[in-house]
Structure formats: C-alpha cells, structure tokens
C-alpha cells in the first residue's frame, strides 16, 4: 500500500470557522471561560505597563522633588494596584492554560472518534481508492497540526491580537503623528513577515513531500533487502539513497532557514523603528511641534516619546510572535480541512430491511421467530404492499443473473455473468489475475452495489437485505490475511465474539492450525503483533480459516484462502472444511487447480466473461482452456 503522500490541496473556505464551531459545540462553557481569561491575561500584561508609566510620571518624578514620605501612600497604592492586576493575570493564565488542555485533548479525541466512526460506515470503495498512508496521516500528522493550532497558536494569537489592539489604542491616545509613523513601519514589517512566512510554509510542504519520497524509497529497499543482499547491490542502493537524501536536506534546510530568520529580522526591524520614532519624536520636541491625539492637542513632550518607545518595542515583539505562528496556523487549518473531508464522506448506503433472525419450526411446520439459540435462521421479510411479514429459511441459495459491472464507468470488469449455487454446492472460479473472480464475491456480500434484482439470496433480492445481516450469513476468507494485535485466541474469536475457548480450538483443529499454534511460545495465548509478522504466510492463512470457521456461516467465500499452504496441508484443511460446510454453499477462488478439483461446478473466467463451466471431469473432456491449464500447457496470470 502506498505511503502517505503530502498533497498540496487548497483548503475549503470556512474550514477555520467550522473548526471553531466544532470546538464550541463540545466545550461551550469552557471556551467562554478561556476567552474571558485570555482577555484578562492580555489586559493585565498591557495594563501593568500603563501603571509603570504612572509610577514614573506620578510618583517618581514628583517624588524626586518632594521626597519619599510625600509620595509614599501614592507609591504603595500604585504598586498595590500593579500587584492586583498582575495577580489577576496569573490566575487567569492558570485557568485558561488548564482549560485549554482539556479542550485541546478533548477536541482531538472527538475528532479521532468521529473519524473512526465514520470510517467504519464507509464503503469499501473508499478504502480501495484512498491510499492507506493518506488515511493514517489524517490521524497522525493532521490531528497533530490541529493540536498545535488550538493548543498553542490559538491562545497565543488571541492574546497577541489583544495586546496589539490595546497598544494601538494607547498609541492613538498619545499621538496621531507618531502612530502614523508606527503604522508605516508595521506595514513594512508585515510585508517582510509575509514573505518569509509564505516561503516557510511552501518549503515545509516540500519537505513533507521529500520526506514521504524518502520514506517510500526506504520502504521499497527494505522490502527488497534480500534481493539487494543476494546480488551484493548495497553500493548502488546507497548511491540512489544519497540522491534522495540530498533533496530532503535541501528542502528541510530552506524550510528551517525561512522560519528561523524571521524572528531576528523582525526584532531588529523593531529596533530600527524604535530609533526612527526617537529621532522624529526628538525633533518634534525640540522644534516644539504640536501633538494631536485622543488625549487632545498639546506640545510634544519627552514623556510621551518615552512611553511611546516602550509601546513600539512591545508592538514589534508581539508581531514577531504572531508571524512565527503563521505556518503553524496554515498547517493546522489544512489539517482540519482533511479531517473534515473524512468526516464528510458519504457513508455506505443501506436501504435493506430484510433481517436475519433465529427461528424454530412451529407445530404446523411453519417458521416462528425465537430468541432461543437454535441452529435455524430465517430471513424476516416485511412486505410493505400488504403489511404482512414472511419468514424464509436461510439456506444459502445464491443466484446471479446477467450481471454487468465495472468499478469505474470507463472500465467494465464483468460481462453478463450468470450463475446458480444451490445449498451444499461448492462453486469454484478459476482465471487469471484481473479476470473478475474477486469482483464476483465483492458483489455477493455487497462491498460494491449493483442495480436491483440481479443477485438473489434464497430468492430474495440482496439489495433488500440489510448489509450487516447479509454479511453475517456469509463467511469470507481472503488471500491477504489481516490479523489484529491480540492473542491467537482473540484473533480466532473475532469470527464470533461469544465463542468459547473450546469452540475456537475446535475451529483451529478443523483448519489444521492447532498443531502449529500449540507449538508457539505461549500457544493460543501468543500475542500477535504487526499483522502476525512472526508467522509464515501459510500459518496466517490457517488462522484466518479458523476465524471464518468459528463464525459457522451458512455460506462461505474462500478467496485464494489456501494459496500459500502446501498441497498436502491443503488437502487436510479441505477435508475439515468440507465436513463443516456439508449442506452449505461454498465459493472457492483459486489459482491452483488442485484446490478447485472437487467442486460441483467450476467457472473459468476470462476478462470478465465466463468462458467455460462444468465439473472438473466435464471441463477436461471439453479440452478447452481449463484442460490446457490443467495439463500445464498454459500459464495463469
């Protein structure tokens, strides 16, 4: 499966707004508290600067003339006020950081749960058309970017924005002229910041792409390690690696460079602005220029300039802080966009209403629904037309009529496929890769849907059967075995969650897996990790057969289920399966003809057409494709 590729897709408009709505919908009270606390914390940090100014102007300057005792009460009052404001700030920042921890992590959990829940309801098509690496990256990289955004950037930017607003107000309060000067400098700073932040974001994306490329290369080479070794090809593979590694270095270097230089540039531009204000201010003072501000008209004084300089410095620092957050915010919103895209996917459609119920034979021989654990199952079919409910015994009778199908409109895969499988029959499909064997089974259990009435299960149109119930009635063993982290026993029990240990072991014995399982270090309690990496492909197939056997389904699809098992073991497994499936329907897809030989009907598929059908003996007599395959004159795939 291809690994995640970093794609640069435009973010849908309104993603940021939707993100906030999402956060608010779960944590309304907390978010309000957080916002209030951020405002308080922001006000307190600027407010204190204001008090410092008052301290100098109202206390220190007059105090130097009048002596300490005269200004003492005022000094205490001012400092006390400062302490109170600061104290409130500390409390506020404590409250909001703690609340933010809950909000951030809680939101991430909600995102993950929503994504996972949605994922369970998506059609197989989604998974066939999306790289698994990309889906994974939504859970890891994208949620991580969102964490940065809500946990760090959001509070920081909010607070900084407040600080900027407060400073801007105070600047205007003191002087319009100087504010104009500051505004000009700020515009310049923002332009520079934008340039670097854009470059940084661009190279960060590139870095992601190079990283994904390198990951892909390393993965291909690791898979091919054995080939590299037997051909002593290490030197060449190193050379190829170096090329890709160099590219990653360049992108990573550029991305970091753009991010790193922003801060020193902005802070020194701030310093230059400081000097500029000092110069202009000083000239105005000495020239006796008139000052205009919210505070009114008046002469420009040194005091105004001094407090102005302090504010200018704080302003440039704050802008620096915000601009550092820009790439993070961009990545966070892009991440949220991808998360929402997954959450917005159309779920698998299911208009089925026929359900599967346990039943028993009534006295008059009719079927009666029951809660008892019987071995009889029936399709409960409610007829809207006359309001009656009928019960049809589950038998495993499957028919397909003139089925045409293609995964995409441009490429048809199946042409006019018809087949009948009576209960107790074993139907086999043989054909080259891409002939459409697996497609047929994808249609039977409705991984993919086709128009009404073409496939019937026990005479019922399968589109009317609820998907979970339909799938309960079908066991499926796939060629690519997927085992889950857990013990061997857990994995077998996956077939039927209420199966006892004994039932699981019996199923394993039936699948001929008991022998090797008992020889594993901890037997049935051996932990399987990484899709059962410690087992051979054949052993994993045996477990997967046991898993299907424990489910004890009325019909079963074996899709290349024994392809990696040797012919001798396969014969033993087949004997066991034949016993289990006596009187039930089995579909077998196989490449190896010994697997399908004893089937009741064998269909030979070629490019989506059934070209031959019959028993093994009949097909041999026909001396057609099957005969050629069997005698080895023809190769599959």
């Amino acid at each position: 499966m291809p690994r995640g590729k970093a794609k640069i897709t435009p973010v849908k408009k309104g993603t940021a707004g939707r993100l906030f709505k999402y956060i608010f919908s779960h944590y309304k009270a907390r978010m309000i508290l957080v916002m209030i606390c951020i405002v308080i914390a922001g006000v307190s940090s600027t407010g204190a600067t204001f008090f410092l100014q008052r301290l100098i102007d109202d206390v220190i300057t007059p105090g130097m003339k009048t002596g300490l005792s005269a200004v003492w009460p005022k000094l205490v009052r001012t400092v006390a006020a400062m302490a109170v404001i600061y104290g409130t700030g500390v409390v506020a920042s404590f409250l909001y950081t703690r609340s933010m921890a809950t909000v951030t992590q809680g939101t991430l959990m909600n995102f993950r749960n929503d994504m996972f829940d949605k994922m369970q309801s998506l059609p197989i098509k989604y998974f066939d058309t999306h790289a698994h690496g990309d889906i994974m990256s939504t859970y890891t990289n994208d949620t991580d970017a969102i964490r940065q955004l809500i946990g760090q950037s959001l509070p920081m930017v909010t607070q900084s924005a407040l600080t900027i607003a407060a400073i801007a107000f105070m600047m205007l309060y003191y002087s319009f002229w100087l504010s104009l000067l500051v505004a000009l400098s700020i515009v310049l700073m923002l332009r520079v910041a934008k340039k670097y932040a854009t470059a940084s974001s661009k190279y960060m994306m590139r870095q992601q792409i190079s990283l994904a490329k390198e990951e892909g290369f390393v993965e291909e080479m690791m898979e091919g390690t054995k080939v590299i070794k037997v051909f002593c090809h290490e030197g060449e593979s190193k050379k190829d690696f170096q090329k890709i590694n160099e590219q990653l270095f360049e992108d990573s270097n550029e991305a970091n460079k753009a991010g790193n230089v922003l801060m020193p540039i902005l802070s020194n531009m701030g310093n230059l602005m400081y000097v500029l204000i000092a110069f202009v201010g000083a000239i105005m003072v000495f020239e006796g220029a008139t000052n205009v501000g919210f505070s009114g008209f008046g002469l420009m004084t040194a005091g105004i300039i001094i407090s102005y300089l302090g504010m200018a410095r704080q302003l440039s620092q704050t802008i620096g802080q915000i601009s550092m957050q820009v790439p993070m915010i961009a990545m966070g919103i892009a991440g949220a966009g991808r998360v929402f895209e997954l959450i917005d996917q159309e779920p698998e459609k299911d208009d089925g209403y026929v359900t599967l119920v346990r039943c028993r034979k009534g006295e008059d021989g009719s079927l009666v629904e029951t809660r008892e654990k019987t071995n009889l199952w029936a399709w409960k079919h409610f007829h809207k037309a006359d309001g009656t409910t009928t019960y049809t015994l589950l038998r495993g009778d499957i028919e397909m009529e003139h089925v045409d199908f293609g995964y995409t409109p441009e490429k048809q895969v199946l042409y006019d496929v018809s087949l009948y499988a009576k209960p107790g029959q074993k139907i086999a499909f043989v054909g080259a890769t891409g002939a459409g064997k697996t497609t047929i089974t994808n249609l039977i259990n409705r991984f993919y849907d086709i128009p009404d009435g073409k496939i019937r299960y026990d005479g019922i149109n399968i589109n009317k059967i609820r998907k979970p119930d339909l799938r309960h009635s079908l066991g499926i063993v796939l060629q690519d075995v997927n085992l889950f982290t857990g013990t061997v026993m857990d994995n077998i029990r996956y077939g039927r969650l209420d199966a006892t240990d004994e039932e699981c072991i019996a199923a394993a014995k039936l699948a001929n897996a008991d022998d090797f399982i008992t020889r594993l270090p901890d037997g049935y309690d051996t932990m399987l990790t990484a899709n059962g990496a410690q087992l051979s492909q054949g052993q994993r197939q045996l477990i997967s057969i046991a898993r299907a056997a424990v489910a004890d389904p009325p019909a079963m699809i074996l899709d290349e289920a024994t392809s990696s098992i040797d012919t001798r073991t396969e014969a033993l497994v087949q004997k066991g399966m034949d016993n289990l499936m006596k009187g039930r329907t089995v579909f077998v897809i196989a490449h190896r003809l010994s697997t399908v030989r004893n089937s009741d009907a064998i269909m030979v598929l070629d490019h989506g057409h059934i070209i031959e059908r019959g028993t093994h003996e009949q097909l041999l007599e026909q001396k057609g494709t099957y005969y050629q395959l069997y005698t080895g004159a023809f190769e599959l795939e």
């Binding site: 698994h132 990573s252 020889r519």
Partner: protein
C-alpha cells in the same frame, strides 16, 4: 550516546559551531541595545539633539549588526541541523545495508523506516533548538544578570533570587512529566496502530460485521490517550502561570524598590532610564528561563528517538565478511555437516535440526516439503544470508564463514521466493546480475530462462520499462526475468526457491533442460511445490519440521512409499483417472 550521534555531524560541524558563535554575538548585542536605549531616553530630556542622534546612530549600527548575526545564526542553525539529519539518515541507511537478514528481522522493516524518518526528524528539531537555544538562553541569563549588576547591585539581587524558584518549578515539572510522556507515546502508538490495522483489515471488519466492536475498541483507546494527555498537559500548564507569576513578582518588586531608591537618592544611584532597562533585563532573564525549560522538554522528548537511532547506529551486524576472506571458490559442491539453526537465541524451537547433506559439484538437488518445513531456511544458509547455529556449511570444501562475503554471494546465486524487480528497464534489472554484461550476454541469459520469447513481443524489447515492483509483467514472466538476472552472475551454484511456481509446466521443463544442457557444471538446487519440477533431479530431499526425512532420486522415493509419494499422488492421481 551523544558521542555516537556526534560522529554523524562531520562537514556540518562548522555551521553547527558557527551558529552558537553568532548567537553569542547576537545575545551580546541584544543586551547592549537596551543600555543604549536607556541612554537615549535619558538624553531625550536633555537640552540638545546631538546626543539623541549619536545614540540613535549607535543603535542603528547595533541593530544592523544584530540583524546580521541573528540572520547568520539562523541560517547556520538550519544548515547544521538539516545536515546533521541528512548524515544521520545516511549513516543509518549505510549501516542497515550491512545488516544480515537476521538483523533486519530483529528490528523489523517498519521499525527501521520509522527510525530513519520520524526519529531523525525529532532529533533534528531538538538539535536545532540546542544549537540556537541552549547557548542563547544561558548566555542571555548571564549577560542580563551582569548588566543588571552594573546598573544596580541591590536590584539585580531580586532577579538572582527569583531564578532558583523558577528553575526548581520549571525543571521539576519537566522531570515529573517525563515518565508520563514515555507512557503516553506508547499508548499513542498503540492507538494509531489500531487505526492502521482497521484500515488494512476493513474487509475483514465488514465481512464479520464488527464495525461496532471496532468502534468500541477504538473509543476506549482514544479516551485513554486523551485522559493521559490531558493530565500531562495540565501538569505542563503550570509552566505558564509560574512564569507570569515570576515576571509579575519581579516587576512589582523592581518597581517598588526601584522607585524608592530613585526617590531617596534623587536619581543619583538609579535613573528612570535605568529602571526601565532593569525591567527589560528582568523580563529577558525570565523568558530565557522559559526557553531553557522548553529546550529541556524537547531534549527529553527526543531522547527516546535518539536512543532508537543510536541503537541502529551502534549495531554491529552479527554476520560480517571475515578479514582477508578467501576470494576463490574451488567448485560448486555444498556440504551440510550436522547443521542446526534457529532464528534467534530466544526461539525455543530449531528451524533446522541435524541436517547432513552432500551436494556434489554440478549435480542437481530437489527440495520438497510442507508449509513451514524450513526449505527456504536451508538454502539461505548456503549464501550466508543467515549463519548456522550449530554445525558447518561448506561450499567448495571450505566453511562459508571463511569466504569474503561478496565472493560467496556472487558465486552462489539465489532466486528468491519473493521475487523483486526494481523500477528500470529490463536491461537495468539484468545488469544487477552483472554490471558489465553485454547485450548479447543478457539475451543469452534470457534465452536460457525462456524469457527472451516474451521480451521480443514487447514493443521496446529489452528496453521495456519495468514499473516499481514489476507490476507490468505477469507473475510467470517476473519469475523468468529473475532467473535470467541470477544466471548473469555465472554462478557456481544456482538456487531456485520456488521460483517457477507461476510458470507453466512446459516452460518449466524447458528451463530445466536449458540448465542441464547449457550450464551443466553449475550446481542447481531447486525448491518446488510441484513434484514435476524436481522429479528429474539427481537427488531429492523431503523436509518435514526442519529435518530431512526422506532422501533419494524420484524412483527411490516413490518406492519408499512415504511423504514424497503422498505428495506425488495428491498432485497426479486424479489426472491419471482420466
């Protein structure tokens, strides 16, 4: 650990050292700038403009210098850390290339990939933080304290008193939280792993109708992760208020005491300008402390990654080429002498037990056996893809461990069960076998492997581009190309590990005939599922549970009436009936 990592710095040592150097200058400048600013403010109240302009010009020069240093430091830091990461990845990759199969199995492919990507990126981030921040922050603290001391000793003492308090709290939090984070990352990995399993196994989930079960399982995990993360972040949330508290406390104290000093001394031992400089220094010190604790957190988080990287870097492959190994192989004979093998020391069971086997040079050996009977294991010992646990494997009469590894592997060609073709033309792929092979040699090898026939049908013949993983040729064609590739090595021993399974029986027979006629001196070892692939071998062994249970030629084995005959019958009886 650090020493091993630092070895990968190499040519990026200069930028990695230049960066802290420029940072030092930058810090010095940053500390002088407020001093000049203070003087400028004081001059504002003076009678002439000249001193203001003088200070202003000095400030501009300082700011430009600081800009230069800051920019250089940033650029060098980016280069140093990106380069360090590049070298780390390269060193990892190169060392992994020297790993034996057993080593790769031990680490697992996916773990090696993670170490080369995520872990290196983590270390890169931490390294950049260190070369930029680890110098800047302590320097900032020291300079600021020194500067404050020059302004007013009593006031500077306030900062010095607050620092230990802040240090204890910040670092206490980090140390307390570290084990929590280690635990969380494990849970986090497990949670993501369960998503991956779910995505990969979605067909299984759906066909067993286990959607709700999976949801429940996942919710439990994600809630667990959320709980732990929230706890950790709440602990970390103490950082910010502590910081704000310390800044506030110093501000209040400095203002109060400062005001008193200015007033009582009438500005002689402290001026207003100096007071605001002091406050600037105070904030700088505290912010530096905060940065330091962040660097500390990063280092601690990346420590786990660093450990995992070093583990691979320091790993010495158990299977190495001997010094002055033999570079001549006498002939293609193979001998197994009481060979036993298990995959890891911890395995309880042997994969191979007491194997004794003589394969004369130029003969052919067939190997038959069930799933997990260790057929592949047996042949992998010949080209030293694994080393024996007990006993000796000899090629050409000499223990394989005495040969130079490249010599051995060039003379023992293995066509693996899992055939891999790489993206490139057919010729490119063929030249894996022999870099200098001429077009005629390639064609000849392909003819022997019965591949020439279908290659000629491709419009671009031998220049046909093979997609990654060989997805544009059929299984049977891929197998024949792989055989041709191995033939180009002109080996003394050729091993085919189930490598004609997708080839039809007629072509299979043609390949074997070509071997017999064209390369009769090459020892051939053939593993197969199909009896027809091995029945004309000089000698056939049957493996079961890692032991040779039957041995002989086809007729002898049929006569012995054992497993071989059973397999033979399972593949042929029905056919004869018809």
């Amino acid at each position: 650990m650090l020493k091993t990592l630092m070895k990968s710095l190499r040519e990026y040592k200069t930028p990695s050292l230049l960066s802290p150097l420029f940072v030092t200058f930058e810090v010095i400048l940053e500390c002088i700038i407020p001093l000049v600013m203070a003087s400028l403010i004081d001059h504002m109240k003076g009678a002439t403009l000249t001193p203001v302009f003088q200070d202003g010009v000095v400030l501009i020069i300082l700011a430009m210098a600081s800009l230069y240093c800051g920019r250089r430091a940033a650029i060098e830091a980016a280069k140093g850390s990106a380069g360090f990461a590049k070298n780390l990845r390269q060193d990892l990759y190169f060392n992994i290339q020297s790993f034996s199969f057993a080593d790769v199995d031990k680490f697992s492919t996916s773990s090696l990939v993670t170490r080369m990507t995520t872990d290196v990126t983590n270390v890169q981030t931490a390294f950049q933080m260190v070369i930029r921040g680890a110098v800047r922050t302590p320097l900032m603290i020291i300079f600021s304290i020194v500067m404050s001391l020059t302004i007013n000793v009593r006031m500077a003492l306030i900062f010095i008193a607050v620092i230990p308090f802040l240090a204890v709290v910040l670092f206490g939090i980090v140390l307390y939280i570290h084990p929590v984070f280690v635990r969380i990352f494990k849970k986090y990995d497990a949670m993501n792993n369960s998503v991956q399993e779910n995505v990969g196994g979605i067909r299984v989930v759906k066909s067993f109708v286990r959607e709700d079960y999976e949801k429940e399982k996942f919710h439990k995990r994600s809630e667990d992760v959320c709980k732990d993360f929230t706890f950790a972040e709440k602990v970390l949330a103490w950082n910010n208020p502590t910081m704000v508290f310390s800044i506030s406390l110093t501000m209040v104290l400095v203002s109060f005491i400062g005001a008193r000093i200015i007033i009582t001394t009438k500005g002689s031992s402290l001026s207003t300008g100096q007071l605001s400089s002091l406050i600037t220094y105070g904030i700088q010190i505290l912010i530096a402390m905060m940065m330091l604790s962040m660097v500390f957190v990063l280092i601690i988080i990346s420590q786990e990654s660093a450990n995992r990287i070093v583990e691979v870097l320091e790993y010495q492959s158990t299977l190495t080429s001997p010094e002055n190994g033999k570079t001549e192989i006498a002939d293609g004979s193979v001998e197994f002498d009481n060979v036993s093998f298990k995959y890891s020391e911890r395995s309880k069971r042997y994969a191979l037990s007491d194997v004794n086997l003589q394969i004369p040079s130029g003969s052919s050996l067939g190997i038959i056996g069930g799933t997990g009977s260790s057929k592949t294991t047996l042949i992998q010992l010949i080209s030293r893809l694994y080393d024996v646990t007990e006993g000796v494997v000899k090629v050409g009469g000499t223990d394989v461990r005495q040969y130079d590894l490249d010599t051995l592997r060039n003379q023992v060609a293995v066509v693996l069960q899992k055939n891999v073709l790489f993206s490139g033309t057919i010729k490119d792929n063929m030249r894996w076998g022999d870099k200098n092979a001429t077009d005629e040699q390639i064609e000849h090898a392909c003819k022997l492997a019965q591949a020439d026939e279908f290659i000629q049908l491709f419009p671009q013949k031998y220049d046909t581009y093979i997609e990654q993983g060989g997805s544009n040729v059929s299984g049977g064609q891929k197998q024949r190309l792989c055989i041709a590739r191995a033939l180009l090595k002109k080996p003394k021993i050729l091993i085919l590990d189930d490598s004609t399974s997708a080839v039809d029986t007629k072509t299979d027979a043609l390949i074997r005939r070509a071997f017999r006629e064209e390369i009769p001196d090459t020892t051939r070892i053939i593993i197969a599922q199909r009896i027809s692939s091995v029945q004309d071998c000089d000698n056939i062994i049957v493996l079961d549970g890692g032991r040779i249970v039957e041995q002989g030629n086809h007729d002898q084995l049929i006569a012995a009436n054992g497993i071989y005959k059973e397999i033979y019958e399972s593949q042929t009886t029905r056919k004869e009936e018809n």
